[in-house]
Amino acid sequence: MNKFKLRLYVTGKTAKSERAIANLKEICERDLKGLYELEIIDVLESPQLAENEKILATPTLIKDLPPPLKRIIGDLSNSEKVLLGLDLSPASDSDEQKEDTQ
């Protein structure tokens, strides 16, 4: 399996941020143990990074590797959707994706 390179953008240490971090760690530990590299970026501390990456909404999880590049927005509480975004879910079919990305 390919190595996952993930970046999570959050804004400040809010409950939503904490929730996103916890949810992500849980998913990674469960489904990607030892196969992932995670970087957490606080927009308040690195606004220029957010500007370069054109981050509007937080939390935003970016999957750089493996391709294709994906953005998963929200506190990642819907783990089914997260897996779908990471292309890990066997149920991932394109129709469903389209609906989500509206």
């Binding site: 500007e51 953005r71 998963i72 819907n78 997260v82």
Partner: protein, 543 residues
């Protein structure tokens, strides 16, 4: 707390010790749970809302000083109503005229597109970015972005980026363009509205003056889509691009400025190259022109006599007549008389080409070419259809500012009538005449009547009250011959000859002769010859 007016419930403070920024301790709303915070200025009065000049020509006059300082104003308009131009210009003028840096938040077009699009308006955004005077916050959609929504989110990152950009360049102005697109990208309208409210509140707190643009679906309907006006409802400006009688007409209207004054109603504006938006404040023009009693020659000694000694130096003269009856002749003499006296003359021709005008003039022994080479005459020929009326006005104003003429000829004004609606035309004439009067120069406008004999034109009907002098040139049919008559119909502030006089045009110009004493009905277009005896009898009767 002194002097509390109990009977009105309104508190009047006269305490001299009150300082700027103090809040009143007494709260008349105490029991209602409403806290009323009032800020005081140095003199103890309630601090008014300050405005900052936008630098947008004409707009500062309509808005009586610019946009409310430290607040956010909503600019709403349909697609193509120049919202983005307004948003960009607000920052551009700030940088150019007041050295105030600005942040541009773009939700729709990527920054590269904006940089490219505004170059033709004379704004080098890229240079300003390098100089640290302009910063983009790029919130435009990422092409081909693959997105999944998996839980709760907010737009905190956007707010953080805006705050960062403002701090980075020390911005005083911020433009956000345009909000519709962000609602299209995030399906939860309620959440987006709430987040935008936070952003508007944050912008207010930082103290920068902002504008937000938003789409409208109709020219006359809801202020904006998605209920955006609710959170920036303090100040609303509407830009319109309405279709009237097959012609596009741009107007702007300040719907409200909470707590401060502005001019009401719609004002025409235009977007022109190397300048951007130029608004035309009509009622903003004050009638404070000084009236001069200095007379100038019309270029024709006999006509001067009819007018009681010539035209006034800062008057507007309307010359009306059918095609070919001598209007251009009269205006040529008027212009060349200025030149003879060492004054500059400007001819704006909308009917004839340069070559035609020059040839006509040389036919009367006037050398326009030499005069132009001497820099004392300027002839500008344009097709009426080449621009909208607003653009014509701005071009004319510029030529006048640059050339600083003493006299202006517009030949003919009625040719401009066809490129606009009647309302637009009237506004144009008012704006032009008041501008000319402010410069204290004489303006001679010609107007072509539709009928050969008698009749009036739409132009006259709409501008006759604005003009100071009206000269009528009319064909008179007598004994199977077309003869020409001239009369001064109106000469504001002066006695004038009321006769209708006959005139001829030859190689030396216009010659005014005797009055048509025994003809009536010339102006109505039905001249009737009356025998001399009848005239004498009538004169006797009324003696």
């Amino acid at each position: 707390m002194t002097a509390l007016k109990k009977h009105t419930g309104i508190e009047k403070i006269k305490t001299p010790g009150r300082r700027h920024g103090d809040e009143i301790r007494h709260r008349p709303y105490e029991n209602t749970g409403i806290e009323k915070r009032v800020r005081y200025d140095q003199r103890g009065g309630i601090a008014g809302i300050e405005k900052i000049e936008t630098g947008i020509e004409g707009f500062d006059m309509i808005s009586e000083g610019g946009l409310p300082k430290g607040r956010t104003t909503l600019i709403a308009g349909t697609s193509g109503s120049a919202k983005t131009v307004f948003a960009v210009q607000f920052l551009a003028e700030g940088i150019l005229k007041r050295d105030e840096p600005g942040v541009f938040v773009t939700f729709e077009e990527p920054p590269e597109d904006i940089r490219k699009n505004v170059i033709s308006l004379g704004w080098d955004v890229e240079k300003w970015e390098q100089e640290g005077k302009w910063a983009f916050v790029d919130a435009s959609p990422v092409v081909g972005e693959d997105r999944v929504i998996a839980g709760e989110y907010d737009l905190g990152a956007l707010l953080a980026r805006i705050e960062y950009a403002v701090k980075k360049i020390g911005a005083m102005r911020i433009s956000m363009d345009s909000l519709g697109s962000i609602f299209a990208r995030f399906s939860e309208a309620g959440l987006v509205r709430n987040e935008l409210f936070k952003i508007a509140a944050a912008v207010k707190q930082i103290g920068v003056t902002g504008i937000i643009t938003a789409e409208r679906t109709e020219e006359y309907g809801d202020i904006a889509r998605f209920g955006i006006e609710e959170f920036v409802a303090d100040n609303v400006i509407i830009l319109r691009n309405a279709l009237e009688a097959e012609k596009r007409r741009r107007t702007m209207e300040i719907l409200k400025f909470r707590g401060t004054s502005h001019q009401k109603g719609e004002y025409p504006f235009t977007v022109i190259k190397n300048t951007g938006i130029v608004a035309i404040p009509l009622s903003g023009i004050e009638l404070k022109q000084r009236s001069s009693t200095v007379r100038i020659s019309s270029g024709n000694a006999e006509l001067d006599k009819i007018c009681g000694g010539g035209f006034f130096r800062d008057s507007i003269i309307l010359v009306s007549g059918a095609t070919g009856c001598g209007k251009t002749m009269l205006s040529t003499e008027f212009a060349s008389d200025a030149v003879k006296n060492g004054q500059r003359a400007l001819i704006l021709a909308f009917e004839e080409s340069r070559e035609q005008l020059f040839r006509n003039a040389s036919g009367w022994g006037i050398d326009f070419e030499q005069m132009e080479n001497d820099g004392i005459l300027k002839v500008v020929c344009r097709y009426p259809e080449a621009e909208g009326l607003e653009d014509h006005l701005i071009i004319i104003k510029r030529v006048i500012m640059e050339f600083k003429p003493h006299r202006i000829v517009v030949d003919s004004l009625s040719a401009l009538e066809r490129v606009s609606t009647i309302k637009g035309f009237r506004e144009f004439v008012i704006a032009l005449t008041s501008f000319i009067k402010h410069q204290e120069i004489a303006g001679l406008f010609t107007s072509t009547t539709g009928e050969l004999m008698g009749g009036t034109s739409v132009t006259e009907a709409h501008i006759s009250t604005i003009t100071d002098t009206i000269i009528l040139l009319r064909y008179v049919e007598m004994f199977g011959e077309m003869r020409r008559g001239i009369t001064a119909l109106k000469m504001r502030g002066s006695m004038h000859d009321k006769d209708i006089r006959e005139f001829n045009i030859d190689g030396k110009g216009m010659h005014i002769g005797k009055a048509f004493n025994n003809v009536t009905g010339i102006l109505s277009g039905h001249p009737v010859f009356i025998s001399t005896e009848e005239v004498d009898r009538m004169t006797e009767l009324f003696k």
